[in-house]
Amino acid sequence: MSASAKKVTRNKVTYLEAISQAIHEEMMRDEAVFLLGEDVGTYGGAFKVSTGMLEEFGPERIIDTPMSESAIIGSAIGAALMGMRPIAEMQFIDFITCGFDQIINMASKMYWRSGIPVPMVIRGPSGGGTKGGPFHSASPEAWFFHTPGIKVVVPATTYDAKGLLKAAIRDNNPVLYLEHKLLYRMPELREELPEEDYIVPLGKAITRREGENITILTYGAMVHQCLKAAQTLEEEDDLQVEVIDLRSLAPLDYEAITASAKHTNKVLIVHEDTLTGGIGAELAAILAEDLFEYLDGPITRVAAPDAPFPYAPALEAAYLPNAEKILAAARKLAAY
């Protein structure tokens, strides 16, 4: 694996390969790092993130578990208390609900209560667009975003997928790492990654496109839909749209958010998760509270409707935000 891993760094790799590289390199670098989850060993994971790792690291560090999310997450917490740095894989992030209590009541409050750090990562495929239906398409970030003591990161690019995961593994707190399954093997996201070790720090947003007419705040797979819309807005409407990829939801990059909003004076918020009580609601509240005098138009949100995630292609297409919906909302906002 190490030979092949070296070889692929010289070529363009996928978002999924970047995740594999991050796990592999961190396990090579630090003996405290290990992976546990359903089918991660012999099978290499449902999406093949850990292919070959069982052979390389052995069954004590690549642990196939029973179908027991509480045991997976709870064991990760126990090991983290002991100073290990476990990575707990949720086969699909939807199943994180089966281990919810371990995250909300055990992991998130532990350091605050006891002073004992819980350095662990929970990661898994999130998001829709793959005809996964109501139980394989979740965007669970808002549940955890609301919980003090959990960090939440959402990589949108191949570079970030690797750098954010490495930073998450090295962090001394529980970090929820939400990889988007639609991006796993997307050819457009293939990227040549640095040969040398790097991280993308938690809590730092990045400007994906600069502009002065409208700010779009977004994250995850929606970054790409927003960039598409921004391109159209430039070509057809002569609007310069600034696209901010939040990368970390907790902690939020307050500086980047407010700096861009002050610059453009109009903010559109886009996320794949449902509207009510989503990340956008908090972003809107921050903007309304702190930047009221800077805003020249209504803070606008584009998100999935307040309904569970549907299965049929026609319903899924209607449900998910996309470049067209973003375009329409941006044009309405630009008119102010």
Binding site: L81, M82, G83, Y111, I116, G149
Partner: protein, 371 residues
């Protein structure tokens, strides 16, 4: 087991009872700010089981396990600080009850969601296994917690992974007001062990010698890398679920039967008959217990309330290297988890508040190091 060790068990049983009696008084006086949950009646189980561990082992105690805490060396001062919500309590006033711990001394803090600590115990044991240690985890829970999903997930996973864990079920007959016959349709909870492929045994949890023997066997099994083992201790919850609960749903006859089997009185009879416990020794132990409890309460009463200005602090641990607990140098100051990074001081569950009274009488290692 030596006479000295038996006397220590007796001391810790008495100390546990006395600490809880005093806590109840403080509660009735309105000095404990929240609910009070005691393990009165469980003393043989909690003290007996914890006595069978070595220094490097770990406990994952629950809300009625004060006896285990005390045997492990948890400071009575820290316990009283916690009940009185003092600023220098192990949780800095952020949590109450016995939700305290110090991982360097093998005590994992619990939460109110009973059963959820059992998967966490798996992670501690998994680390011991990965680091090739001969240490084990003692993971207790009540009869109520055996009906949760995490109980099943944890015991199953532990058995599959052959983790060094002793599961101790403290079956006290009630989950809050719900009697066991409304909770499960089996007579002995140790039967559940069979389903997970581990040895299980049910014993009289009010007979400390029976507890010591059964847990001792289970510890030996777990320590020899043969996987987890389960012991059910049948006991009785003398008080209500909390002090807000009169427990008038417990039939008087049942209560009388159990009260006649009080674990401390029984052990006293045993010690007197078999080991000639003298009234002078008893008086000495009583005096030490009283002095320890008084010291703890006085200390807590004089301790400051938390600084309200810190209310939003300590949500996240700082950056920096983390030591693997139990490895040489793990308590080196350069590690974030070597001490309490919230305060920059050593963890105060065990280390800082060692009562002089306690130290004078006997260090907990005296018992813990027996086996």
């Amino acid at each position: 087991m030596s006479r000295e060790a038996l006397l220590q068990i007796y001391y810790y049983m008495r100390l546990t009872r006395a600490m809880e009696n005093r806590t109840r008084t403080l509660f009735l006086q309105g000095r404990v700010v929240g609910g009070v949950y005691t393990g009165q009646g469980h003393e043989a189980t909690t003290v007996g089981a914890a006595t069978m561990l070595r220094v490097d082992d770990c406990i994952v105690p629950q809300h009625r396990d004060l006896g285990m805490h005390l045997v492990r060396g948890v400071s009575p001062r820290a316990v009283m600080d916690q009940w009185l919500a003092r600023g220098n309590s192990p949780t800095l006033g952020r949590d109450g009850q016995l939700h305290i711990g110090d991982i360097h001394h093998g005590v994992v803090p619990s939460i109110s969601m009973l059963g959820e600590s059992l998967p966490v115990a798996c992670g501690v044991a998994l680390t011991m296994k990965m680091r090739k240690r001969a240490t084990i985890v003692l993971a207790p829970c009540g009869d109520g917690a055996t009906n949760t999903g995490p109980f099943h997930e944890a015991l199953n996973f532990a058995s599959v992974q052959k983790l060094p864990i002793v599961y101790l079920i403290e079956n006290n007959g009630y989950a809050y007001s719900t009697p066991t016959y409304k909770q499960f349709a089996i007579e002995d909870l140790s039967d559940r062990a069979l389903a997970y492929g581990m040895p299980g045994e049910s014993v009289d949890g009010n007979d400390v010698m029976a507890v010591v023997e059964a847990v001792g066997k289970a510890v030996q099994h777990a320590r020899s890398a043969r996987g987890p083992a389960l012991v059910e201790c049948k006991t009785f919850r003398v008080r209500g679920h909390s002090e807000a609960d009169k427990a008038d749903y417990v039939p008087q006859q049942l209560r009388d039967e159990w009260l006649a089997k009080d674990p401390i009185a029984r052990f006293e009879v045993y010690l007197t008959k078999k080991h000639s416990l003298t009234s002078a020794e008893k008086a000495e132990i009583e005096a030490k217990v009283k002095a320890t409890v008084d010291d703890a309460v006085n200390f807590a009463e004089q301790s400051p309330a938390p600084d309200a200005g810190t209310v939003a602090k300590y949500v996240f641990a700082p950056d920096g290297p983390i030591a693997i607990v139990g490895e040489p140098g793990a308590q080196d100051q350069r590690y974030v988890n070597a001490q309490d990074s919230r305060t920059g001081q050593p963890f105060n569950t065990i280390v800082q508040f060692n009562s002089p009274v306690e130290a004078q009488f006997n260090a907990p290692e005296g018992v813990v190091g027996q086996r």
